[in-house]
Amino acid sequence: MADAADRILDCTGMACPLPIVKTAKEIKTMEIGEVLELLATDPGVEPDMNAWSRRTKNELLKIEQDGDVYHVFIRRTR
């Protein structure tokens, strides 16, 4: 990955809603401006993280897919 995340949250193998729930909890422990990389295999993670970021007003930087694993980069904005 080109951009190094400040923290990685591994939710591979976990089903909805755990990736969202764990992301929400994790990002609240980070500093504003830091980037979280979520690893997830739940096939709904892309629409879910788009919706989550829009609602929570955190910044979804990009989503990359590597085989079955989605890498979701989110910057805490508030």
Binding site: P17, I20, V21, A24, W52
Partner: protein, 127 residues
């Protein structure tokens, strides 16, 4: 009751009880997801719904029966994110339950409070 601190307000209604475990956990999943999105979330348990909140039951049933996590896991996942759980007295009477038999997080409301929350909510989703 709503505090208007969140990004939106969703009220779920659970009417199913222990006889239909496959319908027990989904409201908690969705409520946890909504709370993770900074929404304010309540779940109102009516008809057979209050059966799911019994202290003696929450570790004994789960959405897939004996397989996988018990219902208490999904309840805690939701309440840890701030989801609030509501029951009303007539629904307890219907199931021959008292509030003392329920888990600690449950709040008692009545029909007027429920309707008021429903009017104020952005959406109400019933199961």
């Amino acid at each position: 009751m709503w505090t208007d601190d969140g990004e939106g307000k969703i009220l779920y209604v659970q009417t199913h009880g222990v006889d239909d475990p496959g319908r027990s956990a989904t409201p908690f999943f969705l409520a946890a997801s909504a709370a993770a999105m900074d929404c304010e979330v309540g779940i109102y348990f009516t008809m057979f719904g209050p059966q799911l909140l019994q202290t003696a039951i929450v570790d004994k049933i789960g959405p897939k029966g004996d397989v996988g996590q018990p219902l208490s896991y999904f309840i805690n996942q939701a309440t840890e994110l701030g989801v609030r759980l509501y029951v009303c007295q007539p629904s307890l009477d219907l199931n021959d339950l008292t509030v003392d038999e329920l888990i600690d997080d449950v709040e008692m409301i009545g029909g007027a409070a429920f309707n008021d929350m429903a009017i104020e909510a952005d959406t109400v989703i019933s199961f």
